[in-house]
Amino acid sequence: MKPAPFQYHAPETVADAVGLLAEHGDGAKPLAGGQSLVPMLAMRLTRFDHIVDLNRVSEMFGVTADNGGVRIGAMTRQAAVEHDGTIAERVPLLHLATPHIGHFQIRNRGTIGGSVAHADPASEYPAVMLALDGTAEIASTSGTREVPASEYFESTFMTALAPDELLVGLRFAAWEQPAGFAFDEIARRSGDFALAGAAVGIGIDEAGRIDRAAVGMLGVGPTPLRAASVEAALMGLAAADAGADAAEIGRLAADDMDPIGDIHASEEYRRRAGSTLVGRVLGDALAQLTTEASDG
């Protein structure tokens, strides 16, 4: 359980980091929190001649209010995301999803950029990013580009990032309208990767009708997925009516999934449990809207 030898680089700027990636090509790998990469190196599932440690690149850390939304540096620790007030207020789904990631010791090191770059289909942040139409800011020696979440996740562990590119930040817009958000997942033990999970945001117009529905799913396909059938069924419904039918509407998500069966759960189980979960989380998100309405 010891990684193969490598050359260690600790750049202090994005410019130097992408320079190292360009210079060493496929032989180089960025190291963020190390909570996924180091286990793979230790088990010798992979090896690289050059490790480019991002932990001293200070410009990649931190959360900034951005045009009504937030911009989160890729190296921002999951624990920092969990406790950030601006994120809790403007992107509640990230706040709600974070405690489900591993354990607090993992979140003390693991980064939001590392999760999104690693793109495990059972990970929480990729599903939230997809549900909320987040944007990836990507840098290389040829400049920076922005990729919307809908084009970013390509297949299992595969993203729009090329080997010489660095994910430098993520951007999320805040929702303008009244909205309810909820997140939950099914895992065998606290902290395990989810067998299935759902991230739901529902927005309503002045008449109380649903005008934005975002339903992200994890663990039920080769990438994070949107439950497009559920979203379509919700549009235009009154929030209270949708709440009454949440379980039934959630079941439509079974058609939006592409799960695999493995030692942890069969394909059928993931589909049934996953779509039941979508209904439940949808109910939670809608309940926030209806309680808020009756409170106000």
Partner: protein
């Protein structure tokens, strides 16, 4: 082979200088160069929690960090928790009192995790305790003693700092 890199790490309040190969994990550095053999290694890929230490006050897996990354940081292992040789830390005391261990292999990792957990949440519910210790595996106790120890340590620490 990759060149060895000089590092300076403060381990339990003592500065340790060493030459490390980049692939040397912090856990192996602590065990082999700083002689803190209370840092236990079991899974060596981040799952079991036996190697948990405090890095600049935060609980982390020392098997998932390279020693070069800890250059300039402050590490606390189970050896550095108690105030002196004769006194146990309240978390250690509680593990002894409540049968929070049997074989003892996982114990250093649990002690560090629980100390960090109680620092962040001094008055946890039993449910919070169970989530708080979920990142450490014990194959002997069935966890009941560990939950009881965490409860007792929480009360003792609250009394220390009212």
């Amino acid at each position: 082979m990759a060149d060895a890199i000089p590092v300076s790490v403060t381990v339990n309040n003592r500065t340790r200088r060493g030459l490390v190969e980049p692939r040397l994990t912090l856990a192996d550095f602590l065990r082999e160069q700083a002689l803190c053999t209370g840092v236990h290694l079991a899974c060596e890929h981040g799952v079991c929690g036996s190697c948990t230490v405090l890095m600049d006050g935060e609980a982390v897996r020392s098997c998932l960090l390279f020693a070069v990354q800890a250059d300039g940081s402050r590490i606390t292992t189970v050896e550095g928790l108690a105030p002196d040789e004769q006194t146990l830390h309240p978390v250690q005391e509680a593990f002894r009192d409540c049968h929070g261990l049997q074989c003892g292999f996982c114990t250093p990792g649990f002690i560090i995790s629980v100390a960090a957990f109680l620092e962040a949440n001094p008055n946890p519910t039993d449910d919070e305790i169970r989530h708080g210790i979920a990142g450490n595996l014990c194959r002997c106790t069935g966890y009941q003693g560990i939950v009881a120890a965490t409860r007792q340590a929480a009360a003792a620490l609250r009394e220390e700092q009212p």
